[in-house]
Amino acid sequence: MSEIRNILIIDDSKVSRMMVKAIAKQHFPDAVVFEAGNGDETLKLEINQELTHIICDYNMPGMDGLTLCEELKKQHPSSYITLLTANVQAATRNKAEDSGIHFTKKPVTEERILSILSK
């Protein structure tokens, strides 16, 4: 797997970001990882590269993950965007899938993150 991976991780939990980042770096040592703790921070990031993957927590203070992902979809239309959440209620899920946003259940596991990054 030699493709470039530019990954944006958004989660208000630092531990959660660390876990995702650790898994990504372990399997893709050349990956470039951007991090943000909430929606506002994300929108302030200066990213000059094409993002290949966006992994975003759903339940965050301020803007919720789904609204943020819909916004990011406009800015990075070719990214593979995944919403990470323990809140697997049908209403949220349908809304995400309607906007072309993928859905993965928390907690963060190696298997789940790898399956996202191999897309």
């Binding site: 939990s13 531990v15 323990a86 809140n87 697997v88 949220t92």
Partner: protein, 206 residues
């Protein structure tokens, strides 16, 4: 008293958020209504402090659901609401507006079931930290003054106890209801918990 580092605090909050997310999905399925459960903060405190805090927040009368747990650690799990809030929560979930002032038998049972789901979800999170099993007993409904409810649900009766305390926000149909989830441990269990949290974080930062 346990002092948590910023990372440890973050980890516990995240773990319980995942647990409450699972509980929320189970509750939503039960009542066919979108429910959001979130936890602003997780903290530790002494039992005496807890009683004061609940008293200040509830105006005195609370309703609660408790469960004993055992295994690697042992203690009591407790979910409480100010009594008027518990009425509000149950009636939102039952989509009912009957103007009775007290919880009826029905509603007590419904609240016990809701508490059971939430407390079990939290216990699963704790078990994940230990990578071991924490078994639980059947839930019991209590209501009364704060100290009555806490003492009644606290059957191990160890003098010095630490409480892992989380505030839970229920968000249902635009209503916001605050409840409190508590796990009361004895000192030995508390030590085990602290060590487990530490090693969990160490593994991650290694």
């Amino acid at each position: 008293m346990v002092e948590l580092s910023e990372l440890q605090q973050d980890m516990l909050t995240e773990l319980f958020n995942i647990g409450m997310g699972n509980a929320a999905s189970a509750l939503s399925e039960m009542v066919s209504e979108a429910i959001l459960l979130s936890i602003p903060e997780v903290s530790f405190m002494e039992k005496s402090e807890l009683t004061n805090l609940l008293e200040a927040d509830s105006g005195g009368h609370i309703s609660g659901v408790s469960q004993q747990f055992h295994g690697l650690i042992l203690g009591q799990a407790l979910l409480t609401f100010p009594t008027d809030k518990s009425l509000e929560l149950v009636r939102l979930l039952l989509q009912d507006t009957v103007p009775l002032e007290n919880l009826t038998e029905f509603e007590e049972e419904a609240l016990t079931e809701i508490g059971n789901i939430i407390l079990n979800a939290g216990l699963s999170c704790l078990a994940d930290i230990f990578e071991d099993e924490i078994t639980s007993d059947l839930p019991i409904f209590n209501s009364g003054s704060c100290s009555e409810v806490i003492e009644h649900s606290n059957q191990t009766n160890s003098a010095q106890q630490t409480v892992l305390y989380l505030q839970v926000d229920f968000n249902i149909e635009k209503n916001d209801i605050k409840g409190y989830v508590m796990y009361l441990f004895d000192i030995q269990s508390m030590d085990k918990l602290a060590t487990s949290i530490e090693s969990y974080i160490e593994k991650l930062t290694a």
